[in-house]
């Protein structure tokens, strides 16, 4: 690790505690989270000179955020690539800080998807919005978002012999972590989950099928929520209240429906080698994997693509309760309770970074003993269609 560059660090975080937030707007959730993340960092609003924004909600992108905060930043980046936008933005923040263009950067997220009753997973193929070249080739066929991911699951099962019970291991360990996180427990209560305790593989298999072969308990929730994080240069990080969590490797990639392509391989297969190469660490060294769990198959596919095991070997890798926070096997997975059981307002990428930081600070509700290295991997868009993959590798001192 001697040659790792440590040029920028995450020094402040906040996760908006509520998953049902009636009367709040996305912009308010973003602003409250920025204020509290800055408080967590010990830096001031007036220290911020770079804004990264996804243009979600009624925010108006980087310009709208700057206006709301009455800031005049020197860097504005409105990268919107779906749920992995925050991994992409973190990569850009590191790049911009390294280039000397920025010193203190903020990323924020706010969404009231639950209060708006947004059918994220089951509302595909609406035939609404401006005509476009891709929608015209897909909308008539009634593909829901869940069905797109389910097509990856079917193909993965066909090619590698993966079983539904193998995928269910992700739901089981993630729910265990959620039961230990009071905000996740409240989320499941407020969103009226039928049961909020631990679940078994059989519970997953017994839950109703939403789109074959994916069951209800393999699908993320739709919540309100949001959060923010503060990224600082090495110099600015020295003024922070808490120990810095260094950004030591980043990778960005895209993938599509391709003629003759392999749907079981995600953009992560391209982004991860870049990130690991920069970080000069190997997957088996990582203590924590925070992987976008829109659905179980997303995690299974990405674990392979990140190099934790070979393509197709997920079913063996998942054995022996590997993913639990207290397992002797690495990595622990989605220790905050994930999108499956804690927080999914539509673009979960920010929460992957927040829990990674909590783990590397020793602040998680399912703390991995002596956690030193983590990866946050966001997936944006449709896993079986066009999507992005963003990999961020983080290290503590």
């Amino acid at each position: 690790m001697a040659n790792q560059a440590r040029d920028a660090a995450i020094v402040g975080i906040h996760e908006y505690p509520l998953r049902v937030a009636p009367g709040r707007s996305a912009m308010q959730i973003k602003a409250e989270s920025i204020s509290k993340a800055l408080e967590d960092s010990g830096l001031k609003l007036t220290d911020v000179d770079a804004i990264y924004d996804t243009n979600e909600g009624e925010g108006g992108g980087g310009l709208g955020m700057a206006h709301y905060l009455n800031l005049k930043p020197t860097v504005i980046d409105t990268t919107q690539v779906g749920g992995s936008s925050y991994e992409f933005q973190t990569a850009h923040a590191l790049r911009d800080i390294r280039a000397g263009k920025a010193n203190v950067a903020i990323l924020s997220y706010g969404s009231v998807a639950a209060s708006n009753r947004t059918p994220i997973g089951t509302g595909g193929g609406t035939g609404m919005g401006a005509p476009n070249w891709q929608g015209n080739m897909e909308d008539p066929f009634g593909q829901t978002l869940i069905a797109n991911y389910a097509m990856v699951a079917h193909r993965h099962m066909h090619q590698y012999g993966t079983r539904a019970e193998d995928l269910a291991e992700i739901s089981v360990s993630t729910r265990l972590h959620a039961t230990r996180n009071p905000e996740a427990v409240r989320a499941m209560q407020d969103l009226q989950f039928m049961a909020t305790g631990e679940i078994t593989v059989q519970d997953v298999l017994d839950s109703r099928v939403i789109a074959d072969p994916l069951h209800l308990l393999e699908c993320c929730m739709v919540s309100d929520g949001g959060g923010a994080l503060v990224i600082a240069s090495a110099a600015a990080a020295r003024g922070a209240k808490k120990k810095p969590v260094w950004i030591i490797g980043t990778g960005e990639a895209t993938k599509y429906r391709e003629n003759g392509g392999d749907i079981t391989v995600s953009a992560g297969a391209q982004s991860a080698p870049i990130a690991f190469g920069e970080a000069q660490v190997r997957p088996e060294e990582l203590d924590l994997a925070m992987i976008y769990d829109s659905f179980t198959i997303t995690v299974a596919t990405i674990l392979e693509d990140l190099g934790f095991c070979k393509k197709g070997d997920y079913k063996d890798f998942a054995k022996n309760n590997r993913f639990r926070f207290d397992s002797a096997l690495k990595p622990a997975l989605n220790t905050d309770g994930g999108g499956l059981s804690s927080n999914h307002p539509g673009m979960r990428g920010l929460f992957l970074l927040l829990e990674s930081v909590r783990q590397l600070r020793g602040e998680s509700t399912s703390q991995v003993a002596n956690a030193q290295l983590a990866i946050a991997h966001g997936n944006g868009g449709f896993l079986g269609g066009n999507h992005t993959g963003g990999s961020i590798i983080l290290a503590r001192d």
């Binding site: 005509p131 015209n136 008539p140 009634g142 990856v152 079917h154 099928v209 789109a211 003629n259």
Partner: protein
Amino acid sequence: MPNRPQPRFPEPNSQPFWEGAKRGELLYQQCNSCSGVVFYPRLICTHCGGLDLAWKQSQGEGTVYTYSVVRQNRNPAFSDLGAYAVAYIDLDEGFRMMSNVVGVADPTKDIAIGQRVRVEFEKQDSGDYPVPVFRPI
């Protein structure tokens, strides 16, 4: 008749494909410069970057690459279909398209990856453009 969302225009990339569907033809593009197959339809060859793409007619036969049976869709346009199968079909000419597999008694049991299928054009109440769907051969 089904009442699916129609393709919407003006959208110049996909309009020739849908005009072909009206004639009962399944169209794709091939590059006159490098012979690369391009799909979904667009202006530029994704193999060589050229702009000389020609429309070709597929024989309409292929295999199911993967599929999912949708049990829940909040879009009322699909509510009368019951459980229906969305699929990627690999056409024999080398392009992969999204479609539906139809004409089976139970889509949760009667569809398989690798199954041979043939296109048919399903007329719609929702508009003039029939939708190309696939039935097992």
